[in-house]
Amino acid sequence: MTPVIAIHNLHQFYGATEILKGINLTVAPGQVVGYIGPNGAGKSTTIKTLIGLLPDFQGEVSVLGLDLRTQAMDVKRRIGYVPENAVLYDLLTPTEYLRFVGQLYELDATLVDKKAADLLHLFDLTQHANNRMSTFSKGMRQKVLLISGLLHNPDLVFLDEPLSGLDANTVVLVKQIIRQLADSGKTVFYSSHIMDVVEKLSDRIIIINGGQIIADGTFAELQATRDTSLEQLFGRLTGNDTQTATAEAFIQALNQ
């Protein structure tokens, strides 16, 4: 089976700073991959490279069997992406925005309208479908963003912090959606800071730190060394398991 993502020795720079220091990674179809790491480890950079936002990379990257350097446009057509910081044209209504996104993918307009209406309904946004998004809460925007990233029914979905701002019920719903997307043969690649979600949802967990992959496997495999939660494991692997002591020092500094 051809891998959905094949990365060989990926290096990425911002100016002179090396952000990704040789990433090697293969992802098979139908998997939910949780991609975690501390702030500034290179999570978003990896995802942005994979979706073709940062074309000046070193190394070999193929997505859905297509070379990212030469066939970026074909890759973009078949992947979905939901960015971390909810940027959208919030002066538009959800319907208008989704129609616009549909046009960018050159989808049939009537189909897009129908699909958008159905999806908005399923996310309880029907009554807001024709209101401007500038009045929306973060969770409502996140719902529209999720729809806009999945509207063209992509084979591979990248989600950057997909659950941020959502209320508890929607979190359960989105987790179910992610699971069922993978069960239907699609691949979901997502990053998150919420460890218990990653622990429960992912078929495979990849931990990145300082631009390099430091752990890769199912939760059971990662756990094999010692029986512990992902949170503790994460802290230990990324060299940051002194939180209790740091918290004490923090309180002391406040009391100065």
């Binding site: 992406y81 940027v87 959208l88 044209y89 401007r132």
Partner: protein
Amino acid sequence: MKTTTLWLIDRLPFLWRALGVNYPQLRAILGVKLTLDNRRPATAFQRWNQKETESNYSFYVSLGIYAFMGIFAAVMLALVPPPAIVPAGVFFFGYVMVICALTLINDFSSVILDTSDNQIMLFRPVDGRTTLIARIVHVVSYLFTLTLAISITGILVIGVRFGVGAGLLTLLLSLLTAILMVFITNVLYLGLMQFTSESKLRELINYVQIITAIVFYAGFQIMPRLIDKGSFAAQPFTWTWWHYLLPPYWSAGSLDMVINHRIDGPHLLVFGLITTMPFAGLWLMARVLAPAFNRKLGGLDAEANAPEQAVSAKSAIPASSLADRLGTWLSTSALERAAFSFVWHISDRDRQFKLRAYPQLGYGLAFVLFTTLTRRGIFESGSQGAATNHLLILYMGVLFMMAAMSLTAVSDQFKAAWVYTSAPVTRPGDLLAGRFKAVVVKLMLPYYTLLTAYVFYLKGPGVVLDVILAFVNSLALLLISEFFQKRSLPFSASQDALKRNMTARSFIILPVFGLIGFLHWGLTTYIPYGTIVALPVMAGFVWLLFRAFRQTAWGEIS
């Protein structure tokens, strides 16, 4: 606006094919952008429940101003004898060009260099060519309207004098000039992106914008003087090689060709240049420059999000800066000091602030310089006309200071002002006082020093008392103008709030401004020792005003 633009681009499928643009996507992007423009200011007005149609109000006001200024550009077209149409045309099209360039640099650079689109469109299957052309068409749709406003008088004048055909040609030439300017500004930006490190680019563009704005303004002031008065004689225009390098000559030459039926080598050449160069520019942008441009823009964005590669500080305790030391020295309370350093630092670093404030000051200097130069030319030397001049120069400064002062109240990040209300601030007047002092020390003192140097150069140091009194009076005017408006804490209001405030306030403050200037002039001219007596009185007045200003309570702050 939206319907017209979309109708027009629907009529040009061949152009989009030639440029290699994905037309349905282009149309979708443009449609959304124009919709956003219609709605953008509306959000700011929603509190007053005004109709959406009023959102474009300011755009129409500026159209009116452009049309009014266009009248002056067209005067020469109306007066010169037909054979001397070239110099008049050069002036007219040069004017159109300068206004286009200024508008592009000042108002539309944010549209051309917009990176917010990246996060919405870059990961979708839209190629760089289409996004760049969409951006350009978006800008051009506004630029065409403005160009039309500037050139309408000229078009009518030509149409009436030389027939409808010539009028239509003038219209066409004006629009071509606009496209050409879009191309030139884009190339300018791209050139900058090629040759500088990306992290410094935004800063650099900022300075280039300021400098270009001033140079263009100065150039426009000088242009009429460049045109030899002799060339208005009714004799055919003689072409020299450098005329072929300047686009206004291309347009003027084409006009000459049609009006005076002068079909020869040079005229055909310039006609060819003006009709092909804008499209060649578009083609070059779409085919050659677009990928580079978008990659660089993507880089800009990435750079902005990149982890800060700051000089690793040994400790998080900030080093004491000049602003902090000045603040400690000049302020009487901690709040005042806080506002002082805050305004000082942000005015150093905020790109938007610099872009709005410094060109104002530059224009001010250019204005002073050129009006006095013209005056001197007219009145020769030492006459009555020049005698009042130095007061005018000094008081003109207040206008620009008022603009700068208002700018320290607005910010794109005005929402961050929640910190003022969540903190236990009991005396907000101290924050206002700190803001005022920072503007005076940082902007007004250097600016007045420059003005003073120029005045001394003109009149000699004998006018030193006038200079001091003018400075004190300017302080008073600045404070009075603050009293006439909703007072805002540093960087706490949105840009729209400023615009609402501006017009009304100038109507109130201008008479006061005129009165004080006039009184000063009267004092100097008719009352011996008047200035010396007035000085302590005004200084006391300023002190009282400032004290009242400092006592501003929460209720008086917007």
